[in-house]
Symmetry: C2
């Protein structure tokens, strides 16, 4: 529990002593979506050993980044949730995610998408108010390699939910080629043409989607 110190009086080194250990920021990323149980976290971080997850949760709780809370009602369930201090990392995580996306190469065979990382990526790539003047809400259901999330764009605000979207304007189904669309390496039309993306709904909406969510130029 005693932290290995960097031996400097510096906000950055302090930050790294708190969240710089392996897996820590990914745990925080998943909790940024909402409170989660131990097992949920385990599933979202497929390769994490349980002892490391356990240790990280204790350390992060000790530093005031997250809280352990015992749900009273339905069953004795333990959830972990970020404190306000932990939630302050949101913008930093989004920015780091954008930075790292630029280096994303072709994925390994056993690399996977998770719902949390996908939701994070969509929040990171959301182009605020740059979207075309469509005041009415637009909803998408996004399926990437079987992982399903819902997206709602309304009044320039982005809503992200886990699981299927109810009555989406457009269903987007894709695989590992999704990154190419998000980074603009291929256009919406090209993606439809080469079959790396399938849609259900108005195909024109995919262009709007590609403009709304973009990482890079």
């Amino acid at each position: 529990m005693a932290r290995r110190s960097y031996g400097q009086i510096c906000g950055l080194s302090r930050a790294l002593e708190i969240v710089g250990e392996r897996w820590a920021l990914l745990i925080i990323r998943d909790l940024m979506i909402g409170p989660k149980r131990f097992t949920d976290l385990r599933q979202g971080l497929p390769r994490i050993p349980t002892n490391v997850l356990s240790a990280r949760l204790k350390e992060l709780e000790h530093h005031g980044v997250l809280q352990r809370r015992i749900l009273p009602r339905p069953a004795t369930a333990v959830v972990y949730e970020l404190t306000p201090y932990g939630r302050e990392l949101d913008d930093i995580l989004l920015a780091l995610g954008r930075w790292g996306s630029q280096s994303l190469g072709p994925p390994d065979a056993d690399d996977i998408y998770t719902a949390d990382s996908l939701m994070m990526a969509m929040r990171a790539s959301y182009q605020g108010g740059c979207s075309s003047a469509a005041p009415e809400p637009v909803t998408y259901e996004l399926r990437v390699t079987g992982v399903v999330i819902g997206l709602t764009v309304q009044d320039g605000q982005l809503g992200v939910t886990d699981g299927p979207q109810s009555e989406p304007d457009l269903v987007i189904e894709t695989g590992h080629g999704f990154a190419a669309l998000l980074t603009g390496r291929i256009s919406a039309a090209e993606a439809l043409e080469n079959g790396s993306v399938h849609v259900t709904g108005d195909p024109e909406l995919l262009s709007e989607f590609a403009n709304t969510f973009r990482i890079g130029p």
Copy 2:
């Protein structure tokens, strides 16, 4: 050299594979000030083992975060400098530094200030255009536990230099109590009164300094 992967297709996990290893972001922080030689980096990172520094430099170069450059002229010197991609981390480092500063406790006996961390902290705490309407430049020389840097505020722009300032408007000399002033735990007047800060020049300027550089509320 083969990176331990997090097994996820996610910009954040990619970023952490690149700069998430111990010491990496501190190396980048020091290079953010300017190109440096191996020995300079060693001095700014007092506890880093040389083999780890060597390994990090190789990895970061391999990922396009920094470049190794051989100075041709005066002597055969090797310097490391950030690439544009590496420099994109600047805002993230500043934000992380601000976040971590909120958790800075009383320092250990052997914790030190370094010029680079201090310059970083001043950049992170600089309150952009919030400063009072003083269009003329103000220059400070800041000495914290013997570490000396220069600060120049002009047209709402902050300049930070290593070493003494020439003809500063105010010389601020202080020790480990400097963090209390920066975070606003004590006021400029209190700091002068209890002797934790000494100034040479107009003491009133210390209030302006405390307003110009501030972390937290």
